[in-house]
Structures are given as C-alpha cells and as structure tokens.
C-alpha cells in the first residue's frame, strides 16, 4: 500500500472521505513517521499522541461530513499559537509551563474542520529569528540535509511538512517566517493579507506585521487550509470583515486555474540584482522562463525603497516587540524568579532569566527607538518610509497580476554559520519583510534546487490585498508546469 504520509493533503482527504483509510490510520501513520524522523530533524516541541488518537477515533465513529474539509487530516501547529490544554511555549523558557485555557481562532477552525492536531512545532523564540536556532529548547534541522538550517522562524512547521510528519502545519509570518522556511525546506507557504486571518490566540511579536498562514506540500493543499482559517473574527480588531473566496473549490473545478497564458508577472529589478546567490537567481529565472513559454508576460517593475526596507522593518518590529513582550512579568503566567525581594526585582529577574539573548536584544532596541529623543528619528521615520514602500508595491501591482521574487538570497546555510552576527542575519530577510510592511499576501513555492548546493529554492508570488485567489491560481499553474523537487530521503 502507498505510504499514507507521502500523499498530499487533497489526496489523503479524498481517501478519508471515501473511507479508503480511516482517521486513526492516518493519525497512526503520521505518529509513526514522527517517531522515525524526529531524532534527525527535531521539528516538534510536544507530541500529543493520546489526544490526537482519541480525536481520530471520535471522527471515525462520526464518519466523514461534507462541511469538514480537513476531516481526519493530521496537522501540526507552530508553538506561538495557543492550543487549549496543550503546552504552548513560543519556544521560550519564560513560557515553559504555560498551558493555554483557550484555543486560538485558527485552532478552533482547524478542529471544526475535522483536523487532528498532532503536535506543536519548534520555532525561534517568540518568532525572532530566521533559522529556528533561537529556540530555547532545541535546534531544528533541514530534512534535505541535517547539517543545514530549516529557516525560520516557522522552521519546525516547514521541516515537519517536508518530512511527512503531517499534511499541513500552521506558521506565522512577521517578516518572512512562513515563506522563508518553506523556501529553505522546499514546501509551499502562504503569508495571507494582513487582516485576512485572525491573530486571536497568536502570541504577539509585531502586531502590525504578524499573520498566521499554512505550510503544505502543494498549492492546492495550501488553498484548502487557507479556506479553513481565513475569515472575520471580532476578537481581533484588525480582522477584516469581507467574505473569503473559496480558493480550493475554484482550483479543483478548474474555473480559477487560470493558466499562465496572458498573466502579467512583475519582476522587481531590485530583487533580481546582485544580492541573491547565482544558484537562487538562476532557479527563479528558469521557472520564469517556463511561465513565459506558457504565455505569461514578464514585466520589469521597480520598488526603489527596497534598500530601506530592512531598517524600516527592524525599527517597527522591535518597537512593537518591546511593547508586546512587556506582558511577560512573572505575575499572571510564565516563569517567575525564585524569592524576589520586591515587585521590581520580580519583574527584572523573571524576564532576565526567562528570555533568550536575541529576544533581549530586540526588546532593548525596541525600547530605545521608542524612547523620548529617538522616537521621531527612528519609529516615526520608519512608519513614514513604510508608507512609501507600501505605495510602491501598490503602484507596481497596478501594472501586473502578481510580482515574482526569490524568497531568500541563499539556499539553506550551515547550522551556526551566521549566529555571531545578528545584523548579518537580519539582512537575510531582505526579500520577505517588505511584504509584511505593506500588508500584502505572498505565496512561496519551490521552483527547483540550487545548482551548487542541491538545496531547495523558493520563489514568492506577491499579490494585491485580499487577492489570495490569484496567487493560488497562478501558483498552481506554475507548480504543474515545473518538474517538482521530490521528497528528502529521511528514514
């Protein structure tokens, strides 16, 4: 029999619907796969086998239901997303024993859609990092080469999906944290439009930048999970009320699988310059030539403030982080220092003992850029540049259906390679973070492997606000036109 874990979500869902496989079989297959692959990749912080199997039994008893698009599908969830009754740490010592008393909106949606939540994914602490090396608990490894990073901060989610531990995972993307690990591990990842997916129950990093989104092994699978988690939620004041298109149904019916013929693909010249490694540029260019051969029109566009995006992003993200992480004070939840002499000492020692170095660095810089005397020069200035960046994207998208760009300037690098130099690490986010500043959606998909490294290369399609349907349609068409990169030979 076919290995269940190698199926796409769509194929597994169909087999579950027709009762060719049961939810218990799918869940057991994934748990076995976890047992075999975890020692090599360390993608998970907590496996909830007992409750997952109990839920699968319940689902089998109930039988497939038409309005459960994820009936019996095992999934994993980034540890920044609250799961009721299941420890949620954001990979930080300060939340080591935190058990949420409520589900995040997206987790409620997953459960209602029939998904089986198997495990929580490792990540960079509080989503601050690009390699998943900044976890307080363990380093996740790339399934294609365990000496290399999986990317981050949703590195545990990407590695888990690619290793076949689950059919989909939820990550969060503040400056590229879904798209970049998807690219480095070779899977599909969507950063939805800001406001499309509720942030209720997501442990906040940069509130004006954070969005939750799916990581999967195909574009159609990504559209299906997106359809489950998108939608309005009154508990997130930035959640947008407009209705969600059924992107997965549109893809399946063929009505939106608008071929690449006639599609206008914008190529920002700043993203195809000398900054990207030759193997990354050439894999993306080869994919674009395929698109062109199928009738797509390539249009050169310019985003002149791209150079300022990294500084803009880090000022804003650190400012918001310093404010959001003020809530971790050792009083209501999380780690508390032993025997504090007074309240001030309780705050200071609990935070000093609980946070890792990168988190401290960002909180302190955030406090600095928000402090009297520096606020205008840094924070307000960055917010002004943010508008210029957003407006440039909107202008470029007036001329094109989507923009195309590499996701990461390099393929996955060696574990430990950039750890000593935080600024160098920040510069690796150059191609992803401007999208978060602009609030637009981005879909990363694998387009090939690097000629030198043999590691996956991802390209992102960037769309207008709330036009995820077009990203899925064009991404699906491109995915079908490319040969695919296969799966890593793990376990």
């Amino acid at each position: 029999m076919t290995d269940i874990c190698s199926l796409t979500l769509a194929v597994a869902a169909e087999a579950l619907r027709k009762k060719e496989i049961s939810a218990v079989e799918a869940t057991r297959a994934c748990l076995d796969r976890i047992t075999r692959t975890e020692p090599a990749i360390s993608a998970l912080l907590c496996v909830d086998a007992e409750n997952a199997l109990a839920r699968a039994v319940e689902l089998d008893k109930q039988g497939p239901v038409a309005d459960m698009p994820l009936f019996g599908i095992p999934v994993t969830v980034k540890d920044a997303i609250c799961t009721k009754g299941l420890v949620t740490t954001a990979a930080s010592r300060i939340l080591e024993d935190f058990t949420p008393v409520f589900d995040a909106f997206v987790v409620e949606k997953l459960r209602a859609a029939g998904a089986v939540i198997l495990a929580k994914n490792n990540m960079d602490e509080f989503a601050m990092g690009s390699t998943t090396e900044n976890s307080a608990f363990q380093i996740t490894r790339n399934p294609w080469n365990t000496g290399k990073v999986p990317g981050g901060s949703s590195g545990g989610s990407a590695a888990s999906v690619v290793a076949g531990q689950c059919f989909a995972s939820l990550g969060s993307d503040t400056g590229g944290s879904i798209r970049q690990p998807a690219s480095l591990c070779g899977c599909v990842g969507l950063k939805p439009t800001y406001g499309r997916v509720s942030r209720y129950g997501l442990i906040a990093y940069g509130s004006s930048l954070d969005q939750i989104g799916p990581l999967t092994r195909s574009v159609a699978d990504c559209a299906r999970v997106f359809g489950v988690i998108a939608g309005h939620d009154r508990r997130d004041a930035t959640s947008d009320p407009r209705p969600v298109e059924d992107c997965a149904a549109a893809l399946a019916s063929g009505q939106s699988s608008q071929s690449l013929k006639g599609a206008r693909l914008g190529l920002p010249r700043e993203f195809f310059g000398g900054g990207a490694a030759a193997e990354v540029r050439s894999a993306c260019e080869a994919a674009l030539r395929v698109a062109e051969s199928l009738g797509a029109e390539l249009v050169e566009v310019s985003l002149p403030h791209t150079d300022a995006a990294i500084a803009t992003y880090y000022v804003i993200a650190m400012a918001e982080a310093s404010s959001n992480l003020a809530r971790f004070d050792g009083v209501r939840y999380g780690r508390r220092a032993a025997e504090p002499r007074n309240l001030e000492e309780l705050y200071v020692r609990s935070r000093t003992e609980g946070f890792g170095t990168e988190v401290k660095r960002r909180i302190m810089l955030g406090s600095y850029v928000l402090s009297a005397g520096y606020y205008d020069a840094y924070y307000r200035k960055a917010a002004q540049v943010r508008r210029l960046i957003r407006d440039e994207y909107l202008t470029a998208l007036e001329r094109c259906d989507v923009l195309c760009a590499p996701v990461s300037p390099e393929t996955a690098w060696d574990i430990g390679a950039h750890n000593a130099d935080p600024l160098r690490m920040y510069l690796m986010d150059a191609y992803t973070l401007s999208l978060n500043l602009a609030g637009l959606p981005g879909l990363a998909l694998p387009v090939g492997k690097g000629a030198e490294s043999g590691m996956p290369v991802g390209m992102q399609l960037i769309g207008r606000a709330f036009d995820e349907a077009k990203l899925f349609a064009l991404g699906h068409a491109l995915e079908r036109a490319l040969p695919g990169i296969g799966s890593p030979a793990l376990a």
Binding site: T99, V101, A237, T312, Y333, L346, V348, L388, G439
Partner: protein
C-alpha cells in the same frame, strides 16, 4: 587621539545599553553589556540609513489594516472565569495573584 575617542564612544554605548536594559526591565552583566554595545552600534548605524530617505509630507503608516476597525457591541459577554484566569499563575491563592508586598 582616535583610540581615546573610541573608548569614550564605547563607554557612552555601554551607558545606553544600561539605560535600554532598565527601560526594558532587564539586567545585563558586564560581558553582555560589551557584546550588546558593539552589536547595537552596528545595528543602529544600519538603521541610521533611514535618515537619508526623503519623507517630507509623508504621513506615517502605523498599520496596513484596510478597514477602520469594527467596535464590538457594547454588551458584556462571559469571560474565562477566575479559576481559569489564575490557572497559569506562578503564585495564587485561589482568588488572587500573589506578588511580593508593595507597601
């Protein structure tokens, strides 16, 4: 002369690190202060490139949200309750969070 200047600059940066730590309710030891002072100098120098962008008459964009926000109806809804709210507290007495004596 230039060496003297560097020493003064580094001292000023260490003072900044101490100030930032205090604002952030964090403590740093001597080694961390030197490390952060060096890293913050690089990072802030990089952020200073923003000064060269012409932003005259540009309104700051603080959120990309495209709608004006929808206030909830002004009605009370059940919350999670005291027991649940206290469940994760490091110290509690069944009714309250316990902290060191304040006054």
């Amino acid at each position: 002369m230039s060496e003297q200047k560097t020493v003064t600059q580094d001292d000023a940066l260490k003072d900044d690190v101490l100030k930032m730590a205090s604002l952030s309710r964090l403590q740093t030891d001597g080694e961390e202060q030197s490390l952060f002072a060096r890293q913050f100098r690089d990072i802030l120098d990089y952020m200073d490139t923003l000064a060269s962008v012409d932003t005259e008459d540009v309104e700051p964009l603080y959120t990309p949200a495209l709608h004006g926000g929808m206030p909830r109806d002004d009605v009370s809804v059940p919350g999670i309750g005291r027991g649940e709210a206290l469940r994760n507290a490091p110290r509690r007495d069944g009714e309250y969070f316990i902290v060191p004596r304040i006054v």
